[in-house]
Symmetry: C2
Subunit: 507 residues, 2 copies
Amino acid sequence: MKLQARLMDIANRGVLLNRADARLLGVLDGDRVQVINESQGIVVPAVVDTTSSLIEKGTIGIYRLTNDRMMLADGDAIEVREALPPASVAHIKKKMNGERLSKDEMAEIIQDVVNENLSPTELTAFVTASYINELDMDEIEHLTRAMVETGDQISFSSHPIVDKHSIGGVPGNKISLLIVPILVASGLKIPKTSSRAITGAGGTADLMEVLAPVEFSASEVQMMTEKVGGTIVWGGATNIAPADDRIILVEYPFKIDARGQMLASVMAKKVAVGADLVVIDIPIGENTKVGSVPEGRKLAREFIELGDRLGINVQCALTYGESPVGHTIGPNLEVQEALAVLEGAREPNSLIQKSISIAGIALEMAGKAAHGAGADLAQELLFSGKALEKMKAIIEVQGGNPNVKAADIRPGEYAFEVHAPASGYIIGLNNHALISLARSAGAPSDNGAGICLHAKKGTRVKKGDPIFTIYADKAWRLEKAIEEGRRLMPVMVEGMLLDRIPDTPWS
Amino acid sequence: MKLQARLMDIANRGVLLNRADARLLGVLDGDRVQVINESQGIVVPAVVDTTSSLIEKGTIGIYRLTNDRMMLADGDAIEVREALPPASVAHIKKKMNGERLSKDEMAEIIQDVVNENLSPTELTAFVTASYINELDMDEIEHLTRAMVETGDQISFSSHPIVDKHSIGGVPGNKISLLIVPILVASGLKIPKTSSRAITGAGGTADLMEVLAPVEFSASEVQMMTEKVGGTIVWGGATNIAPADDRIILVEYPFKIDARGQMLASVMAKKVAVGADLVVIDIPIGENTKVGSVPEGRKLAREFIELGDRLGINVQCALTYGESPVGHTIGPNLEVQEALAVLEGAREPNSLIQKSISIAGIALEMAGKAAHGAGADLAQELLFSGKALEKMKAIIEVQGGNPNVKAADIRPGEYAFEVHAPASGYIIGLNNHALISLARSAGAPSDNGAGICLHAKKGTRVKKGDPIFTIYADKAWRLEKAIEEGRRLMPVMVEGMLLDRIPDTPWS
């Protein structure tokens, strides 16, 4: 059917048909059509919405993300046809039925994910089926390779290339801001791609963006790494393993990390940037993604086996994940804390120790330090100021101000200090509650929003001592966070009331 | 956040936010918000699309299906908040993890399905998880009861109430148009709700709509049944077991009938209309939903057990499903064939035998006939013209013309006769291909579209004999169907070429 395009600025995929045209085409709301730009030879699948007034008979509304691929001008004549489901739907059904997917089947599915040929229903069924009928190591390898091959890749002329990844779940985990410059200072190359927070209060990319732009193509990442030794960029802008972003969005409502997909997601990015040596940080503890040490060991073995199949030397560090790393949560607060350490501060100890331990493993793997001597070398590179020089170079190559100081970076102007409601030891910090509170205050989109902890687990506090401060860029956000804090109680003091009706134990 | 409503005629659920407002609210495309009509006390969840131009800052686009629940006027001030996922998401995750769902958990999920609190991703995950981690009979019973309780129900003062259901997959299965009036003629009550075709060429509701309106509320179904003994209406309009419609849409792309959901879907409707006695028609054969007799027996036992738990006496008939029932496929053609039999035609035999067999089982269950004598009674009610009188009463009570004759109903004006390309026996009819061909010709939305078979399996034909005719209401539809027919070859004659390049064996 010939229809006239009407571009609609709706940031979604899809087309809007008049009901009469939909009936003629034989499609219902939610069905799929092919939209064909004949002059350019572009065929794009799209899901149909219908209207009886917003779009006239003979015209078709094209939503923005669909037109990003169609490249139509308003009024262009296009051909629209009922579309058959893609072949990979049959493979997804196979996985639903508990069968194993071959290399080619997995590749077809991931190609259709990247080309947006799968409807949300089909993609969700794939993710759910792969979660329930767990992928075996062959399938995980196929998935990883398919993710790599459907995106951009980097190939360096000199080796080794190192990389690190934290599997997340711990607030305040700003260690990449120290590890990357430490490794660069040792002479290694580390083209680090990071994520933005989805459920967290700040991903490494959100933090780095306080200091410099983070959106670059894969080839820009390569050039910058060749030039200064490393980068800290947002992976989502690189077109590296782009299938992964769409899969993660499906997992998000369930807060599941389908094991196979998590392994593939992490390792695909490492393969795509050409990494030879990778250190994986697996935080362990209640309220993180991995609850126990045996579980962490199993995951570590799987990362190592997958790395082996892909030609990457992987080592894993199981780390303590029950408390935040350092004292701060939220973009500006975390960047300030990390920069202060690069500038010479000797605390917080938890941040420094974790960073030099993981950097040390990479230094040993790369032969820069003898076995057991990596952390000492990392500490020397950090305390000597060499890491700070490299961090400045990275900030500068990404387009930021290399002369920025920790003292220049300020938390939000609205602040609320929470005091101990009773004397006693701090007996618990709840990661989930801290993250939720920081998000209520506006993190990660408001850079100044976040939390600064004045006392950590095991500290003795007196009634009335400050235990943490909430910061926000906007007054109403602060109010919302205070309200949320009353409900969540992210910091527990021994002996404090857990609830008091009608009031709550905030001073 | 206070925003001004702008109603948008998009036949979908959701809201459209300006990107600036979305950022302030802290939501991304695909996230969920609560939209609150404070003056009416209505709170509705909605999924967010964003735009930078179509909707101005301070306003919010409300799509039509969302406003069906919000009842806003253009320009109304509303409150919009970030929404937490509903509690039933945790239950869905439980099912994904292979655990069993309790009665309360299943009820919460189905309540959220009906209230549209679940996103498409969440609903798909539930359906997929229930397909892979099969529901046990307790869970199926919970699901059935939850489906019943979240919709309208009918309660009759006199009993028994009978009902029938065909699980589908066979084209031309117009038997309800005979069975319902036969049972009514025996003095039984049958408030039959039927489906429209989703993947087929015509559901019973599509057929009945040729004769009379089919969209009624549950209480109208009750009143009409009390008055004339039976109805043949579209279940989708009744608000009986409304959760089912949304679940079926998710299963549609995969053509799966998750066993537990199919059992619950069928039986929930029977419970909701107050049925005491139910006959289930299970067609068996290649290219139907149930491939073999042992598989059909297993399904029959499950229907009977579920009926037992719900206080319904169920019997099942395994029927031959490899060929169409009767000679016609498509709304007008099928109605014409069924009316002709009610008016006194003594063929097609496959239609008459199947209808009186199934009606006979119901008559025996209800005590209207002795064991083994039901089919004879059904035949007598049919051949005597008593069923025709009742059909006229049903047509009239639903608002159609009771004096309609088979001869008044005409197939589409565009026709194409297909001739045998060789002499021999008809060795195969492909259900899928016949349905696909009828749909290409315009069925079920074009009433005149469809197929009339002149020879069925086992018939000997001579080269050049007509083997079937394709009908359509529109010339271009007929062309499309002819093209499709060349590819699909729905009728196979012994000895005919399966393919000839570059030509194909149509005469």
